[in-house]
Structure formats: structure tokens, C-alpha cells
Subunit: 146 residues, 2 copies
């Protein structure tokens, strides 16, 4: 039996995040002590570890909800889990490709060098004039970059 703080420690998920997961229904509301504190068992630890691992792999919370549903009902068909994983793989692949294209242009920009006044700054020039780009690049997907 663990307090929320100890659950946090043993899973590496922060306390407010655990409460947030409970709020959105990813984690079931746990039992409480007389003084209203949450008390967790080992089942909760496993469930939260599952969530954390899936998040590390980049699954969206909605996808995780589905995966948890499947994990909870082992008699169901796992085709959906497979589909989600494949989709996630495709997303990651696309993002890597995107970022590599980006990296190429950034590198070129930085390598152009730039000393002294901004008037002759290669970085600023490059940004101002998309026509100079070696290759066309689309906008990265939303949230693909910090």
C-alpha cells in the first residue's frame, strides 16, 4: 500500500500527473484513508507503469486508453493494439524524416557562417528568402518541435 508520493517515486510519474490521470479516467479513483488521502496497491503500480511506458513510446493518451482497455480484457482481439502500434511507428518514421530534412537546411544555414552585422548574416538572409532553400520543406506537424 502506497501513498501518492510513493507511487510517484516507484513509477517515476510525478504526483500532479497521477492526479491528472485519475481526473481524465486513465487511472481508477483509488481508496482513501480517513483523512481523504489516496492509497494505492500493486495493481495501480502496474497500471501506471504501463501508462508511463506507453507515453515514453509516444502513444497519445487516447491510444493508451484503448490499449489499457485491451490489457484489461485479455479475451478481446488484439488487432486494435497492433494497429495502434503500427500507426505509432508510422508517425515516428514520418517525424524522423521530417526532422532530418529540417536538420539539413539548418545545418546549411549555420555553416554559411555569420560574423559582424546582421545585414550580412547568412542565418537571417536564409530565413528571409525561402527561395534559397536547397530542398522544399513542409511545415513540421504540430508539436513536432519544442
Amino acid at each position: 500500500m502506497l501513498s501518492i508520493g510513493n507511487l510517484a517515486k516507484s513509477t517515476g510519474v510525478k504526483v500532479p500527473t497521477i492526479r491528472f490521470y485519475e481526473q481524465i479516467g486513465l487511472l481508477p479513483a483509488p481508496d482513501r484513508t480517513d483523512s481523504d488521502r489516496r492509497v494505492y496497491d500493486q495493481v495501480a503500480v502496474r497500471r501506471l507503469a504501463f501508462i508511463r511506458h506507453a507515453r515514453e513510446l509516444g502513444f497519445a493518451l487516447d491510444a493508451i486508453r484503448t490499449l489499457l482497455g485491451l490489457a484489461d480484457h485479455p479475451e478481446r482481439d488484439c488487432a486494435e493494439a497492433n494497429a495502434l502500434a503500427l500507426e505509432q511507428l508510422a508517425t515516428v518514421d514520418a517525424k524522423i524524416a521530417q526532422l532530418q530534412a529540417l536538420r539539413g537546411e539548418l545545418k546549411q544555414m549555420v555553416d554559411g557562417g555569420c560574423q559582424g552585422a546582421a545585414a550580412e548574416c547568412r542565418v537571417i538572409e536564409t530565413l528571409a528568402d525561402h527561395g534559397r532553400c536547397a530542398a522544399p520543406h513542409a511545415a513540421p506537424a504540430r508539436h513536432a518541435l519544442a
Copy 2:
């Protein structure tokens, strides 16, 4: 002289996004017609193209604000622009490395195959048991994935 819709068409930036950029001070408030419609000139087109290009390269709006400031004052030192570009390159590199590690584990998971019941689903098993991971992986940076 362009309406906001035509500015949007000629830069590829959506109308609400243009208004948003004006609201946060990235674009100056343009002149208006008698009926309060925004009117843009070629300077606005160039400025918005600059912003769009920088966004495509993954620069944050705050960084873009700085870059625009430098572009507006060509007599200033461009060291800051260079630093921002280098920082951005490092960020992209880190993200690529992160995603490739992720991809590896996802691939392994998907290749494990998975037919029939969720009870024997390799995807779900893998998620449930982090200990099986070939390599350790940290959580991706916030917003690194959709």
C-alpha cells in the same frame, strides 16, 4: 495592397494564424479600410514569409521575435542569430536521436507479431513490462510527438 485572405494565400499562412500573430505582436497592426478591414503591403508579405520559414524550421515564436528584431536592425550584431540557429540545430539533433531510439523499440514490439487474443499480444505485453526493453529509453521531450 492585399486583404488578409490574399495575404494568407500568398504566404500559405492561414487567416486566423495571421490575426493571432498580430495579437501577440509578431506582425504590426496593419492599416484598415473604412469598414475596418485589414490592408497589407509587400513589407507585410515579406515579414510573414520570414516568420513562416522560421516556423517551418522549428524556431519557437519567441526566437522568431528575436530574429525579426535583428532583421529589422541590420546594424546590430548577428551573434545572437547564430546562437539561436545553433541551439535549434542541437534541439533537432537531440530529437532525431530520441525518435530513433523510440523507433527501435516500437519496431521490435510490432515485429513480435500478435494474433488472436489480447492475452498473448506482444504489443500489450511489451508495454506492460518495461524490463523487456532492449535498451533504456527516457521520456521524449514534451511535445516531441503528436
